[in-house]
Symmetry: C2
Subunit: 164 residues, 2 copies
Amino acid sequence: MLLNRLLSNFVSSSRFSSSSAPRLLQIGDVLKRSRIFSHLDILEYSKLSHDSNPLHLDSEFARNAGFEDRIVHGMLVASLFPLIIASHFPGAVYVSQSLHFKLPVYNGDEIASEIQALNLRENKKRFIAKFSTRCYKNGELLVLDGEAMAILPTLAMEQGKSME
Amino acid sequence: MLLNRLLSNFVSSSRFSSSSAPRLLQIGDVLKRSRIFSHLDILEYSKLSHDSNPLHLDSEFARNAGFEDRIVHGMLVASLFPLIIASHFPGAVYVSQSLHFKLPVYNGDEIASEIQALNLRENKKRFIAKFSTRCYKNGELLVLDGEAMAILPTLAMEQGKSME
């Protein structure tokens, strides 16, 4: 598992650096993004989503429920997947996403998010892509697992800069 | 389908109004929440999630891609599901969610979100609940479909007020 991930990274990175021509997404490619969610992010997401679950807002409540502290909303962590897709493929349209929340994410955890292309098929000059979607914390701890499908306007990848 | 929904609503509503004792969640119960997403919500979500897909931010880009206008982020629409769960069951822990994005959501659309209890099982004094999760717009148009699982601290439902 670890070897596969390292190998995928290597393949992906080496492809990126070997050419200045637009890179075309290929099956097996891995695209990544890391983020540390702050408590301010949690507060802003609570306000925007109207989700005031005390697990996200009340440390004592969260500890009494068996957590170390307040947890980041699962859907906020999951936002990393469409972010990765859209940053490489502006105009991508989300078709589906499955999410399995495996471990809690706390503010300050470094979350390494990655998607891997599992399947690509052309349809009416667009591309239907299936990705595995995973988030890890502290290196190898899987916190969120699933799959996504998206319609990509092209397989040519942008460098993945997004608004931050 | 429509009959089932109306019947479920009726059962759910009549149970709520028939007693002042805490209501216990039962299989078949439907819980609802409506929301209209504004363009400001889209902008704030783009900033918070770092997702600057032009489909959400650029009307001309969105129209050229075949949409009527800029679309609401799918994950922002999907935030209605954990909102409904948490507002009735504070302390609920999200286990999984599947999401199938069927139709675009535009700012100003009234989105009717509903979850229905499909399965309930007790485990170590908590309850593992499986819900169908759906969002409709303009009455009967299904825009988002899926299922969720959550661990509930109790089956006793709160009235579902949340921070707004």
